[in-house]
């Protein structure tokens, strides 16, 4: 996903993508982030316990925690509510 996104939109995207364990490279590729920014976002989400780090031998992956569900649900409802009513014009 590209275009101008807010930090909250990027957090949401990372959390939804990480519902199944994902590697750092997969996350930054999917969410269209550079590695520096990707690292910052992941560190923030890990620090807030929205993402859990899973280490399997030499492979590190990230997975959303149950705590992330609250944010994902709130975000989805806010964005979908934007389309609950028509904008007041017809074609």
């Amino acid at each position: 996903m590209s275009g101008r996104r807010t930090v909250y939109e990027i957090y949401w995207e990372v959390l939804v993508y990480c519902k199944t364990p994902r590697s750092f490279t997969a996350i930054i590729n999917r969410c269209d982030l550079n590695s520096k920014l990707g690292q910052e976002y992941l560190e923030f989400l890990v620090a807030r316990e929205y993402l859990a780090i899973m280490r399997d031998k030499e492979r590190t992956s990230y997975e959303s925690t149950p705590k992330a569900a609250e944010y994902v649900a709130l975000f989805s409802s806010l964005y979908q509510n934007l389309f609950d009513s028509a904008p007041g014009f017809r074609l």
Partner: protein, 212 residues
């Protein structure tokens, strides 16, 4: 189908329709401008009564061509991203998940932030382009023009020309309508972006960013 998805699909579909209409207007403007320029180069515009009128028509044809190219270019740029989102929407089955709907909405909002300025441009140049096609049609359709101390009179040459004027009038109306729709679309999306900004506090609170 969920109301949000249904509304989102409808808006994207309507936007694509209006963008297609704008593309047609752009192509017609390019063709009209180019045809007049070629005709002038071949000396086929001598039927125009005064040289002044030929100069005016030439200038309008150039503007028409330029605006047509701009309308075509900007509309193509705008509609490319919307078409991608529309294709993704169409590819979704009836059992589309909440996350997928939100994902497409986020994509459209992010894309709208990118095209906001271009949309402003097309709202402005679209009707100008239509008006130029109309003006070119009027000027090239003059058979006689007389300016006296008591008044100003114009005569159109034949019925075919009058039919052509009606067509150019339809182009003006179409360009005004498309501009009107784009304005409404921009207003709706600006409102949504303002709503998103207002709701960021709740997201910030949930993420525990209040202390930062």
């Amino acid at each position: 189908m969920k109301p949000a998805l249904s509304q989102f699909k409808k808006e994207i579909r309507h936007f694509s329709l209006v963008a297609s209409m704008n593309l047609i207007i752009g192509v017609i403007a390019i063709a009209a401008g180019l045809l007049y320029i070629i005709a002038a180069l071949l000396g086929l515009t001598s039927s125009l009564v005064t040289p002044d009128l030929r100069v005016i028509a030439g200038a309008i044809a150039l503007v028409c061509f330029g605006l047509g190219v701009s309308v075509l270019h900007v509309t193509l740029t705008i509609s490319r991203g919307v078409r991608t989102i529309r294709n993704k929407l169409d590819a979704e089955g009836p059992a589309v998940t909440d996350d997928r709907i939100t994902c497409l909405i986020v994509q459209m909002i992010a894309y709208y932030r990118d095209i906001r300025q271009m949309l402003g441009t097309i709202i402005l140049i679209g009707p100008l382009c239509g008006l130029c096609v109309f003006a070119l049609g009027i000027v090239t359709g003059f058979e006689a023009m007389s300016l006296t101390s008591t008044g100003f009179s114009l005569t159109l040459n034949n019925r075919v020309t009058i039919l052509a004027q009606v067509l150019t009038l339809a182009i003006v109306v179409s360009s005004l309508l498309s501009s009107h729709y784009f304005t409404k679309f921009a207003m709706a999306w600006n409102h949504r972006i303002a709503e998103i900004e207002a709701s960021e506090c709740a997201l910030k609170k949930t993420l525990g960013m209040d202390d930062q």
